[in-house]
């Protein structure tokens, strides 16, 4: 059984204008899947529909076998599907520790979870008492990812974790996500524009264009294959 199974998803922000035109993808347990595509292809919209922030007009989303279409976002999050939105959205006036604890609200064994995550994210351990707004862009991105992991999700959705990061930090994010997969056995659904990140983290990649899935590849096949990417992304 797939961890996440999306069938024929149609919808958008307003009833009249669809952004997604029948998207079908699935993610297996412990698998990492990337969604590549240009801006405006509907990638972020797809993540927002899956996490319940936007109701789809048509189609079905099943998470661990249960239908979650139309379920409210906080219930979906509690069911173990976490969403790290685009653009390093951390609570800038709160400390790093409080940011992390907010991510684990309502789940058991929060402090142990925090300890475990700080082993994976050593950068954050030194900064626990600092306000999140004082972190650099890369550190804020790490914090956002760690916060998403605090609820012990079985599937973590990441929206452009490499956007606006320096080349070196992009490398670090790739390494970090690989480590999270290895150690926490979390499945990933990753929206990316950077093929190197997709190839470095994911097993498979879907390519989206104008609200449709136009291709599916082994993620490694995309790396360094500029022709293939240009054909897909335009």
């Amino acid at each position: 059984m797939a961890a996440l199974e999306i069938v024929d998803l149609v919808g958008g922000y307003t009833p009249k204008v669809d952004v997604l035109h029948g998207v079908a993808i699935d993610v297996h347990p412990q698998e990492a899947v990337a969604i590549l595509g240009a801006n405006g292809a509907g990638k972020s919209t797809l993540l927002r529909v899956v996490s319940g922030l936007i109701a789809p007009r048509q189609g079905s989303i099943r998470f661990n076998g249960a239908e979650i279409t139309g379920v409210s976002p906080h219930r979906i999050a509690r069911a173990g599907l976490a969403h790290v939105p685009e653009g390093r959205q951390v609570f800038v006036r709160q400390t790093v520790a409080d940011n992390l604890r907010l991510g684990g609200m309502g789940s058991q064994g929060q402090e142990e979870r925090l300890e475990r995550l700080l082993d994976v994210f050593p950068v954050l351990r030194d900064k626990l008492g600092q306000r999140a707004g004082e972190l650099s862009g890369g550190q804020q991105q790490m914090l956002a990812i760690a916060r998403g992991l605090m609820s012990q999700p079985s599937l973590l959705m990441l929206d452009e974790p490499s956007l606006g990061l320096s080349p070196k930090l992009v490398d670090e994010v790739i390494e970090l996500l690989a480590r999270v997969r290895r150690e926490l056995k979390t499945a990933f659904l990753l929206v990316e524009q950077n093929a190197a990140v997709a190839a470095g983290v994911a097993d498979r990649a879907y390519v989206m264009r104008r609200g449709e899935v136009v291709g599916e590849e082994h993620a490694q096949a995309l790396l360094g294959n500029d022709q293939l990417l240009s054909a897909y992304l335009g």
Binding site: N39, S166, L169, L233
Partner: protein, 605 residues
């Protein structure tokens, strides 16, 4: 506007005119109330409508919620009354005072209030209105709480006499028509377009050389004049005015009219005034508490059912089949439109120093975002600026473009110090910047955005004559011709990025500062952007480009400056920078170094 729609609007205006003009001929007790006549309510409604139009004009074009117009309305009424009584002048000369004194008083309050936005702006304007009410309640010249009486009918103008109530009613209608005409003229002028641009995206407007304060101030003054004149008319109609008429709570009735009728539609506020005044009477209540209750319910209902107001909703329905416009084709210029031929990057002799920053510091508390940066950019150069996140790249750009004051250090552009200049003033010198997130004026099309700037760029202090003039030429040079008439909200991300550059080029700058222009672009869009930048350089524009995409940035740069922790880590030609171990360690990373080595090996093999 389509022909059918034009006819429809004309028919509606004609109908409204017939109804309004016919009011005095109607049976006076049509509204079923013993102590108010139809004519007096209609007269009051016309005056309210003028206040609503004057206020709505400012609120709609500036996006700022003001209650100061309540006090200014009162100032107009009292200015008229006091000059009639104490200067012994007639109604017509007193109108001049009713227009000028509110405008004069509006100046200091606007200068204070316009430094704020949102709730703070609202609070400052409420405070002003309450202060005015307090003043007129306590001064002796205003006759205090009893109110000021002045029953002076306007003298006749030629054959026109204003003794009768119905002729005075027509006078109010004429002033209402003038107010609406003024609103229409302002809204359609270039000045109005710049105001809307400021409302849509203030910092973008600043970056393109628009003086925000001056524009908002003029709009506020116009609004103060209109409501001031309406004050004189109110005194004429009521024959006595009391301070509490002009309190901020009372003024909420005007807001109800504006919202109910439709803020964004020209005739909306005026229509709303009529509804607000007549509805309680039709419902048949003289009880002020009852009408307050009705106001409240109406306001809530209007917000829920008709967020764009009655007239706004009507406009929406009759604009008919508001078909969603065809979705913009992704990619620059809609895909099939040829870009201008790309210019190969050629070695170009560099000119004199254009921009020079010397030991620039910018501290935020203990955080030293810039800690002594020296950078010198020469005419004709493309300078890349790279560095880790948080190294101070955007802060440097903000300091140069005037959006941030420096803590220490000097910045000179064309030999002149930039210190103390505001962003719009710097932009008018031909130094223009873009923003990290693509920004656009939400209520404009791509062409309108560029036209707005082209028009205001003509009178600039420094204009690069080599760059194309005219919005269409600029849009074509950026490959946006096919998207020119699309609302900016329908542009794809890549097109928005290119529009940002097109708007900056519309200023015809000498120096262009770009903050991550390639972030989030597809490979095709990135190539289009590269060509736009190289073409701009060929037309004599010097460029400073921040970006994290090395495959985009390094090939177009003459030299690269690397920042780290607010200081300069390295500077030099792109090749040398890409090899620099310190830069690899701090920024590029080992995998970049490996890929680069691989690329070089590939070239050799």
């Amino acid at each position: 506007m389509g022909r059918r729609r034009r006819v429809y609007v004309a028919v509606n205006i004609a109908l409204a005119l017939v109804v309004l003009v016919a009011v005095p001929t109607w049976p006076p007790h049509l509204i079923g109330s013993a102590n108010t006549t139809l004519l007096s309510v209609a007269s009051l409604a016309a005056i309210w409508a003028i206040v609503a139009v004057g206020t709505g004009m400012f609120v709609n074009l500036s996006g700022l919620p003001t209650l100061a117009q309540g006090g200014l309305w009162g100032v107009g009424a009292y200015a008229s009354g006091i000059t009639i009584i104490h200067l012994d002048i007639g109604f017509w000369p007193s109108l001049l005072f009713a227009a000028a004194i509110p405008a004069l008083l509006a100046l200091p309050i606007a200068l204070v209030a316009l430094r704020t936005t949102g709730v703070a702006f609202l609070v400052v304007t409420i405070a002003f209105t309450e202060f005015i009410v307090l003043l007129i309640t306590n001064l002796s010249i205003t006759e205090g709480p009893r109110g000021l009486q002045a029953a002076e009918p306007p003298g006749s103008i030629g054959p026109l006499e204003f003794e009768s109530l119905s002729s005075q009613y027509y006078l109010y209608l004429v002033f209402l028509a003038l107010a609406i005409a003024l609103y229409a003229a302002v809204a359609r002028s270039r000045f109005g377009a710049r105001l809307r641009a400021i409302r849509d995206r203030e910092r973008l407007a600043r970056s393109l050389g628009i003086n925000v304060l001056v524009h908002q101030l003029i709009a506020f003054e116009l609004s103060a004049t209109v409501v001031g004149v309406a004050g004189a008319l109110l005194l004429l109609q009521q024959q006595v005015v009391t301070p509490e008429l002009f309190g901020s709570l009372q003024f909420i009735g005007i807001y109800l009219a504006i919202v109910l009728g439709g803020l964004t539609v020209l005739g909306g506020p005026a229509l709303g005034a009529w509804i607000v005044l007549f509805l309680p009477l039709w419902i048949g209540s003289d009880d002020p508490n009852m009408s307050l209750l009705i106001y409240g319910v109406l306001l809530v209902a209007a917000m829920l059912v008709l967020p764009r107001g009655l007239l706004g909703a009507l406009k929406g329905w009759t604009a008919g089949a508001a078909e969603p416009a065809p979705a913009a084709e992704p990619g620059p210029g809609g895909g099939d439109v040829a870009l201008p031929p790309p210019v190969e990057r050629t070695a170009q002799p560099l000119g004199d120093v254009l921009l020079e920053a010397t030991s620039v510091k910018r501290w935020f508390g203990a955080n030293r975002a810039l800690d002594g940066i020296d950078i010198s950019v020469r005419t004709g150069e493309i300078r890349g600026v790279i560095g880790p996140n948080g190294s101070g790249k955007t802060t440097l750009l903000n300091c140069v473009s005037g959006f941030l004051a420096t803590t220490d250090g000097a910045i000179t552009y064309r030999g002149e110090p930039l210190q103390g200049r505001r962003p719009d003033s710097i932009a008018r010198l031909g130094l223009v910047r873009t923003f990290q997130e693509p920004e656009a004026f939400g209520s404009f099309t791509a062409r309108e955005s560029c036209e707005l700037i082209v028009a205001s760029a003509r009178s600039r202090e420094a204009v690069n004559e080599q760059l194309p003039e005219g919005a269409d030429a600029v849009l074509a040079s950026c490959g946006l011709s096919a998207a020119a008439d699309l609302p900016v909200t329908e542009l794809s991300y890549g097109q928005l990025r290119l529009l940002g550059v097109a708007m900056a080029l519309s200023c015809r700058p000498y120096l262009l500062l770009l903050d991550e222009p390639a972030a989030g672009l597809t490979p095709t869009d990135a190539v289009a952007l590269r060509d736009v930048l190289l073409n701009a350089r060929a037309a004599g524009v010097t460029l400073v480009v921040i970006d994290h995409d090395m495959s985009f940035l390094l090939p177009i740069c003459d030299s690269v400056t690397v920042l780290d922790g607010g200081t300069k880590l390295a500077e030099g030609e792109p090749d040398a920078i890409a090899r620099d171990p310190a830069v690899i360690a701090a920024y590029l990373g080992e995998s970049f170094a490996k890929r680069r080595a691989g690329m070089l090996a590939g070239e050799k093999g």
